[in-house]
Amino acid sequence: MSKEWPLWEVFVRAKNGLAHKHVGSVHAADGRMAIEAARDTYTRRMEGISLWVVPSASIVASDPNDAGELFEPAADKVYRHPTFYSIPDHIKNI
């Protein structure tokens, strides 16, 4: 049995000014074929004007089990948000 074509993650930019957004994945032998497969699979209705394809194996993802420690430091630093500071109502434009 032949080996399966590698998996590519597909990102579409809907229009200039917006970031590329992950939409799904395709199998393809190489990058060019992945772009063409992504075009046929994910942009049949003018969903985008630009495509990125990235070998799925190249993506390094954080582990959801570590989410606690990884993101916890942000939780106790509420002073990073403007609402942490109380300013009297009569002070304007701040």
Binding site: W5, D30, D40, T41, Y42, R44
Partner: protein, 332 residues
């Protein structure tokens, strides 16, 4: 298009986890799902949840892919260039839907090749509806109107299914499916307003597709062993009978509007329930078709296997070419 969970053995109990799950993790998982949180690929999940999803999503994907066959037959015989272009676009959409779903299933740790092998060897099921023949052009209208209509009914609640990649695939699919149903109804509408012979074609297609469409929602709730678990895990959001009733309630007036008769003498508006009462569904036929005794089961699988085997050299050549270019690029 669509599938519901299919099991040829209706007595089989819901999937049993191979090893007992860690009760603390299981409780945390159940709480998340109950709170309508989405589960994502790398999150911990019970084995039975993973297996149920792989089975359901891959069956759904297979249904989309096999669903291309009965309609593909009619592309060259579509009655006008407009109808031909529309049918081509619809069949291409079905292929796309299959691919979104295969990709979603792959995030659960199965591979594309494994799923395709399961389909071709007959271990994996696909929607029974595609084992019925498409005898005339009117069948293409009936499929779009009824089969895709039933699919939409089933898929809309699945946009909130608890597994993130499946839910996201369903959002895309639902957006695209609505054109499928409307083009089908338009075909029926045109035929029903045509010559006496054209109207007979439309009526005959409705006669043949009505009951199989109602069976698409799966066995009745009291005979659907996997339903309770799937509802609790928010893999399913509404029961088979609930969705079936909804489908009947919206579809009957659409048939009446174009003066076609729904082939069910027991069909009657029930004022108290605010719904239509309908006749008995022949579940023996359903299970026979699930077991692969549908009129075209063999032909469908032969077509799939032939396409897969005859395309093997293309897949191999593309991979060999890509490998060669990689080696060459590395040497430069």
């Amino acid at each position: 298009m669509y599938t519901t969970e299919l099991d040829d053995n209706k007595k089989k109990p819901a999937t049993v986890p191979s090893a007992p799950e860690d009760p603390v993790r299981l409780a945390a998982f159940e709480a998340r799902v109950a709170a309508d949180d989405f589960i994502e690929p790398k999150d911990w999940m019970p084995e039975a949840y993973r297996k149920t999803l792989i089975r359901q999503i891959s069956q759904h994907a297979h249904s989309e892919i096999v669903g291309m066959l009965p309609e593909g037959n009619w592309i060259t015989r579509a009655p006008s260039l407009r109808r031909k272009a529309v049918l081509l676009a619809k069949v291409q959409d079905e292929g796309g839907h299959g691919l979104y779903l295969y990709a979603a299933a792959e995030t659960l740790g199965t591979s594309r090749d494994e799923m395709i092998e399961a389909l071709h060897s007959g271990r994996a099921k696909y929607s029974t509806i595609f084992n019925y023949p498409t005898l005339t052009w009117a069948d293409i209208g009936a499929i779009g109107w009824l089969v895709d209509g039933a699919a939409i009914m089933n898929q809309v609640p699945l946009q909130r299914t608890s597994y993130g990649p499946y839910a996201r695939a369903m959002v895309r699919i639902c957006k695209e499916e609505s054109f499928h149903q409307r083009q089908g109804y338009e075909i029926m509408m045109t035929l029903a307003a045509g010559t006496a012979e054209q109207k007979r074609m439309a009526q005959s297609a409705l006669d043949r597709w009505w009951w199989p469409s109602l069976m698409m929602f799966g066995p009745p709730d009291d005979n659907s062993p996997n339903s309770a678990q799937s509802m609790r895990w928010r893999i399913k959001r509404e029961t088979n009978d609930q969705i079936r009733q909804k489908f009947i309630d919206v579809t009957v007036p659409q048939a009446e509007a174009i003066d076609l008769q729904v082939p069910d003498p027991a069909l009657k508006w029930n004022e108290t329930r605010g719904s239509y009462d309908f006749g008995e569904i022949d579940w023996e036929e359903f299970y026979a078709v699930v077991r692969g005794e549908g009129p075209l089961a063999k032909e469908r699988m032969n077509a799939r296997v032939k396409a897969w085997e005859e395309g093997a050299w293309v897949r191999e050549a593309a991979m060999a070419h890509a490998d060669k270019r990689r080696v060459r690029a590395a040497a430069e």
